[in-house]
């Protein structure tokens, strides 16, 4: 029984009121998970991630007259997904490094969105630098601690998987962070993680960097997360949105497909 004068929470009802009232928008940053979603392409002799596949269990038929449902299969890193620190060797011994052990409050965080569309459009191998981020901060304010940095490139508009993966004989050509930016984001800005629209958080050519795959090696080595294959980043303000990113609670999971929601405020 709630006593008459007992204090009731007011923040959550006002949040819900703002969502239903339309002053807070809920934006879906997730790719639709289907069989055509491309997964990372690796040399064929290495272990391969399964693509998303769906087999019907029944559809109101002899296999289940009242039921429609499917069996699905895919790798943990398929479509819009969450990279946990255990995904990389540098994060393998960290505490709370897997999808089942990461503290749940980590899955709700502020997001900063940096628009790199014109740069990525001009150069698919475009690398986001410290200088670029500082310039962005001059216009939009410093990245607050425990924020995501999301790199907007409009790469998710490339529906054709050939253009999306953008492979040639020398590998993938997709934008990502410069190797110097990654430690700076961790040490100087204390980010939760890095998100982007391409198939992986690292640039397509990042395997050839001095520190290969820095956004995996360094971010995960410091217990930070990755959030690739996002969409709708054009609908977020540079600062001020909140994103919700809980992966499936897979025991010792290295990641999982995730429905990423963003809350943005009208003002």
């Amino acid at each position: 029984m709630i006593e008459k004068n007992q204090k009731r929470p007011s923040l959550l009802p006002s949040l819900l009121g703002a969502i239903t009232g339309g002053s807070i928008n809920v934006i879906d940053l997730t790719m639709t998970l289907d069989r055509k979603v491309p997964t990372i392409v690796l040399p064929p002799e290495l272990g391969q991630s399964w693509p998303f596949r769906m087999e019907e269990i029944s559809r109101y038929d002899s296999r289940g007259p009242a039921t429609y449902w499917n069996n699905i299969s895919c790798g943990e890193h398929t479509g819009t997904h969450f990279d946990a620190p255990i995904h990389w060797i540098s994060g393998k011994d960290l505490p709370n490094n897997a999808t089942d052990t990461i503290s749940p409050e980590m899955f709700i965080a502020h997001a900063c969105v940096i628009d790199c569309c014109s740069e990525a459009n001009e150069d698919p191998d475009y690398l986001l630098t410290i200088k670029d981020v500082k310039r962005w901060e001059n216009n939009n304010g410093k990245i607050p601690p425990r924020s995501w940095l999301l790199m907007r490139t409009d790469w998710s508009l490339k529906i054709d998987p050939i253009q999306y993966l953008n492979l040639d004989e020398e590998g993938a050509h997709t934008p990502g962070p410069h190797q110097d930016l990654v430690p700076w984001l961790i040490d100087e800005r204390d980010v939760v993680g890095f998100g982007c629209e391409a198939v992986g958080t690292d640039a397509g050519q990042a395997a050839h960097f001095t520190i290969p795959m820095p956004c995996h090696h360094l971010m995960h080595g410091k217990g930070r997360f990755g959030l690739p294959a996002l969409t709708n980043l054009d609908k977020l303000p540079p600062q001020g949105s909140v994103i919700i990113t809980p992966p499936l609670k897979i025991r010792q999971g290295s990641g999982s497909p995730v429905r990423v929601l963003a809350l943005t405020e009208e003002f």
């Binding site: 002799e45 272990g47 391969q48 769906m54 050939i162």
Partner: protein, 413 residues
């Protein structure tokens, strides 16, 4: 000269498609021996070990000396056409649909008189050459052609019932991203195929072979991923009723066995492509092919699987690959039985190591894809069912017949 095979017209949407029917069915267990010879392209009959008399039709004991020691032996193919007749009437549904039909009695050089289906140019009293074939019901029959090659004999509409000649037929090659895919397209074009449809998966992986296929005449490429049920379903919805010869050349080889490379994921990928892939293709293309088995002179005819000879006996260097191929082989036998009612035949070819990047370290002899393609087209023209291609496959089949335990213990890559 044989009457020229009519060029297929576009399908008349008003006419009902002729339903498949079968020539008379059941045969004795002994007659199945004849089927075994026919499916492997041999002209072999039972020969009495006791008195050497050549038997026809197959039987349990010698018609001369009653010995039960009858062995299958290759015999001379020549003979003389003693008598010929043309059926103008039949009470059998299958033959009624196909009248007139020519039959004859051939006195074989090997001894017996044999009732044979006749090629158009066979003349009574002249010499003929015989071969065994499989009819639409899956039974062995004898066919006779003039002794000397007759111009255009591959067009013979009566004998076309007993083979799966690609001429004027439309072919689907499942995987166009390998050299084998390209060579198959080339070989089917050369054999007079009407159209060639070629599948390709994972569009982001480029392939010089697919680029070469795009330049071939009468050839169209379509997205097709045998690991993806929807993809197979989509293509079957688009061209399923036009495929008359299916060529499943899906292929995913990774070296390793169970202990030396314990990896469920790789084994899963192999099963997805070889076993579930075949099942998906069969599930969506099989029913419509079966229903079109009698659709004119160019109806659905054959389903070709290119399997590894290691489907027959496991090679531990390719242990899980061999196992997935064995699963595909078993499923193909199921498919063979189910397609039989439509008169569509499953042709399994067995190959050894081929010249490709996955067999880089395998010692020669290795098959070149052009040879495989050529042999498959030949097998279809001859109506064969189980086709070893290359020295490795031939040796495996021979040694399995002689002593399965011996090859199981000694097989190496």
């Amino acid at each position: 000269m044989t009457t020229i095979l009519p060029t297929p017209k576009k399908k008349d949407p008003i006419q009902r498609t002729r339903k498949p029917s079968m020539p008379p069915g059941n045969r004795s267990r002994e007659a199945q021996g004849l089927a075994a010879m026919a499916t492997s392209g041999r002209f072999a009959l039972q020969v009495c070990n006791h008195c050497t008399k050549v038997q026809y039709p197959p039987r349990q004991v010698c018609s001369e000396c009653l010995s039960d020691q009858l062995a299958w032996q290759d015999v001379r193919t020549g003979g003389k056409l003693l008598a010929e007749t043309t059926l103008q009437h039949s009470n059998d549904v299958y033959f009624r649909d196909r009248l007139p039909w020519r039959l004859g009695i051939v006195v074989a050089d090997a001894g017996p008189s044999i009732v044979a289906h006749l090629a158009e140019d066979c003349i009574q009293g002249k010499r003929v050459r015989m071969s065994l074939a499989i009819d639409r019901a899956g039974n062995a029959v004898v066919i006779a052609k003039p002794e000397k090659l007759s111009p255009g004999e591959e067009d013979d509409m009566q004998l076309r019932e007993m083979a799966f000649d690609p001429k004027n037929r439309r072919v689907l090659i499942v995987n166009g991203k390998t050299e084998l895919g390209y060579r198959l397209a080339e070989a089917f074009l050369k054999a007079g195929a009407r159209n060639i449809f070629v599948g390709h998966a994972e569009p982001w992986r480029t392939s010089t072979h697919l680029e070469a296929i795009k330049k071939l005449d009468k050839t169209t490429i379509y997205p097709l991923d045998v690991t993806d049920t929807e993809s197979v379903k989509e293509l079957a919805a688009m061209i399923g009723d036009k495929v008359e010869i299916m060529v499943n050349n899906s292929y995913h080889l990774r070296m390793g066995g169970v202990l030396d490379r314990f990896d469920i994921n790789t084994a899963h990928d192999e099963m997805e492509i070889h076993y579930h892939g075949l099942m998906r293709l069969a599930g969506f293309f099989g029913p419509v092919m079966r229903s079109r088995g009698a659709d004119g002179h160019h109806g659905a005819a054959a389903w070709v699987n290119i399997l590894s000879a290691y489907a027959l006996v496991n090679n531990s260097a390719l242990g899980t690959y061999s196992a997935s191929q064995a699963a595909a082989l078993s499923l193909s036998q199921c498919l063979r039985d189910e397609l039989k009612n439509g008169g569509v035949r499953v042709v399994n070819s067995f190959i050894g190591p081929i010249e490709d990047e996955w067999h880089q370290l395998a010692p020669p002899p290795k098959l070149v894809p052009a040879t495989i393609a050529k042999r498959i087209v030949e097998a279809l023209k001859r109506g064969l069912e189980d086709v070893p291609i290359g020295a490795v496959a031939e040796e495996i089949i021979q040694r399995l017949a002689e002593n399965p335990k011996e090859i199981e213990r000694t097989i190496k890559l």
